[in-house]
Symmetry: C2
Subunit: 125 residues, 2 copies
């Protein structure tokens, strides 16, 4: 767990190939973004974009991937993934067939947690 | 082209297996959501969520998939995809290995265009 509030939580996904992979999970059970009102959608996206910003600051990825799929678990959540040219699937999605063994790019978990808190505190004030 | 304004355009993707697949493409050249200011991000997401809403109203999909990847074309765009239990990849992502031949669920293009205009007009007023 990296961060949480009344609306959602941010966890660091345990994924060997993708250390810079956060998941933003809504606390209540909702299937789709458009099941939320506009203000709540906006609050959730602020957290998603804070996770993106924190990963960018700490890891300087080639690209950030954002996705809310939920076909397997229809409980609203967002994947925020730091991607690199030498990772396991680049430039394909992480759900595609692997392209290579892949080099995992490490991230400092405590620094990520701090960055997220700082970014989300700034938003809340 | 389904809809456009100063910020972005919405196109219906020509994808045989996924007739209910919209792409929201930013007009200016930017790589990541966090390269935009918060207000612009919000404006862009409003269009993404309008596309989701329009697809839900017209197609009643099992799930909507939202994704901004951009690993191949690092020009900010969002995929908004209506998913069904009998489609080519369900419950995997559309970028995964196919699971079956897949049944394409048709969408009325003119109705989608009208729904999108109505939803985005309501937002603008």
């Amino acid at each position: 767990m990296l961060w949480q509030d009344q609306l959602c939580r941010v966890v660091l996904v345990e994924e060997r190939d993708y250390p810079g992979f956060c998941r933003v999970i809504l606390n209540r059970h909702v299937r789709e973004m458009t099941d939320l009102d506009a203000a709540t959608r906006q609050s959730l996206m602020r957290v998603v974009f804070a996770a993106e910003q924190a990963l960018r600051e700490l890891m300087q990825p080639a690209k950030i991937n954002l996705a809310s799929l939920g076909n397997m678990v229809a409980h609203l959540h967002w994947h925020v993934i730091a991607r690199f040219a030498d990772d396991r699937h680049f430039p394909a999605s992480i759900w595609s067939e692997p392209r290579r063994a892949g080099v995992p790019h490490p991230v400092d978990r405590a620094a990520l947690q701090r960055a997220l808190h700082t970014l989300l505190q700034a938003v809340a004030e």
